[in-house]
Symmetry: C2
Subunit: 365 residues, 2 copies
């Protein structure tokens, strides 16, 4: 954060080019790719639109794997661009099974792109992106992955898993304020972009970012402050080691799951993500009141559900700079709040369960 | 800058809505409009594309008033979107005369939009946007104005001048790092947007920003840190008063012009902007060496020319947080550097000329 308060410097300078070169190399490490990773000044949605707008023309066919609100975001973008969108949808709380993708691709062999979500933040589901990659790699289609809320926190191996475009943001696993969209683009995707028609575009034209990156430059005035901050946060990830980051988030996820189930809540996601944990609330607990009480009574901001899940779930994030004792605090506040709202919780049981994951005591094995 | 280092808070919250409401009201003051001003996470170019993409469909006719690189940016965007672009061009250093716009509109009565540049940063020219507004208001066309490098520093009266879309950025007169594009949209423009076809778009769809703004919300995860910073910098502008900001920049511009001409340089712009001053360099001075020497010898970063003006001009900005003594420092360093490079300058003459503008001594009248 303090890096963001540093005086700026001119972005058409050797100093900026050195910065962007370093950031790009570190992004390649975090994305696990040898392809260039492009840095756009935009919300994550701008990055998702760039992925579709650069690879699919109006009328082109797209298969979307939808397990929640963020999968629906792909559909909304594709439709706005006039693309033909085939939805492969599952009920909220479930991941999209790879077999459903396989069937859809068999039925639609003219598919140009498949859109997936690594971590469906709306439901806490992790999708099996590696399996999607194996399926899509055998076809002419491209696999576009929204990894905005997972990258850096959850295993995501861009090259090894054959992910053609991976979209991330600055504000989740990368520990910064929002404002940057980050995109890796595979050789298969560049082949498409360079030879096939797509959507009319200028600001989101990925070719401009690639061409500028040849000289470690940005085609448009970049969000310089955030890029400086990104250099710092990527250095933290590098210092810890990416696989250790993933393991840490996975441990925090186990803590959260243990704590929430120990207080009698049911996990909402069938294939839970490591970046956040989502629990279904009991019928008799008003979820909106719960979120308000958490903030009023204990000063903790947890997220509730959106759209049709509003009032029905509680979401606890544990990625980026969030540590084990933050998770413990969240579990504790939730336990206390639920108790005050009349839910039968044995005091301390949930925090004890969460803590035992952090470091199992000898007698627990 | 310190505001940017503050801990973040959740952007789907009453606290964010209060912030955006305050920022939007202050932006309306700085834009001098009663229309909503929309805040996008994007470079200025993203804002320019939003202006064109929302108001003109593919094949639609656009007149572009081009006095330099930034006018050319409008052309590049319009062409990427498949629009028909009519260029009204003048040589670098000149503003586009309103009569030329009048003639072009007469020749192309089916024009949907006119693109203009308030301050052409490439050449230091100020265009007569007020006159363009009077002309375009009498037609069905919309006037889209790139005010990225001028807003807050130069007179720009959105409503009074009938400017339909005005695009600004966070990083010039508004004194912040880059990352936000700010757009005002007139009732005439909304009428077009709501009833006529335009470009396929999602992230840059201005209707989404307007609809969210009804509840002081943002359709996509906003660059929260920059918006907090914007609240601070807009408060500075409000405290000083917009017209006093304009007057201060105008005084700094007179200082710069006096200093540069006193050292024997010729002003490049025929209608000089208040936001920056551009001087033509003597034939025998290598402009690239000059910029390097300024930085190496005196630690000052001035801008040179871009594209065909590379090496031929020097550009001195005086907007935003830049004050009179920054301008004096710039004039001084330029005078010293030119002298060391062999240009005949009477030592101190340029700084004396600049200072006399700051506060004329009694004997100077």
């Amino acid at each position: 954060m303090l890096e963001l308060a540093q005086p700026l410097f001119y972005h058409r300078s050797g100093r900026f080019r050195d910065l962007l070169a370093r950031v790009t190399a570190d992004l390649q490490y975090v994305f696990q790719t040898t392809a260039p990773v492009l840095t756009l000044t935009a919300s994550g949605t701008g990055g998702m639109e760039a992925a579709l707008a650069n690879t699919v023309p109006a009328g082109g066919k797209v298969i979307g794997l939808i397990a929640g609100r963020w999968g629906e975001r792909w559909r909304n973008i594709a439709r706005a661009l006039g693309q033909t969108f085939i939805s492969v949808e599952v009920p909220y709380g479930e991941p999209v099974p790879p077999a459903a993708l396989q069937a859809a691709l068999r039925q639609h062999p003219d598919t140009l792109a498949v859109c997936a979500t690594l971590c469906e933040t709306a439901t806490g589901v992790k999708n099996d992106v590696a399996a999607y990659g194996r399926i899509v790699a055998a076809t002419p289609a491209l696999l576009l992955v929204d990894a905005i809320s997972g990258l850096g926190a959850m295993e995501c191996r861009t090259d090894e898993w054959s992910l053609d475009v991976v979209v991330a943001g600055s504000q989740k696993g990368l520990m910064l304020p929002p404002g940057l969209a980050l995109l890796s683009v595979s050789a298969k995707a560049w082949q498409r972009i360079d030879t096939q028609p797509a959507s009319p575009r200028f600001y989101l034209d990925l070719r401009k970012y690639r061409d500028s990156l040849q000289t470690n430059d940005s085609p448009f005035t970049p969000a310089l402050g955030l890029i400086r901050g990104l250099a710092k946060s990527l250095a933290l990830v590098r210092a810890e080691g990416l696989e250790r980051c993933w393991a840490r988030c996975a441990r925090l996820a186990r803590m959260a799951r243990a704590g929430l189930t120990a207080m009698g809540l049911e996990l909402f996601a069938q294939a839970p993500a490591e970046a956040l944990t989502v629990a279904r609330l009991p019928e008799r607990i008003d979820g909106n009141a719960l979120i308000n009480n958490l903030e009023t009574w204990y000063g903790l901001k947890l997220a509730g559900g959106q759209d049709s899940l509003k009032g029905k779930i509680v979401r606890l994030a544990h990625m980026g700079h969030i540590d084990a004792f933050d998770v413990l605090a969240g579990v504790s506040a939730l336990e206390l709040t639920l108790a005050r709202m009349g839910w039968p919780v044995a005091p301390g049981q949930a925090v004890a369960a969460a803590q035992s994951v952090l470091h199992p005591l000898p007698e627990e094995g």
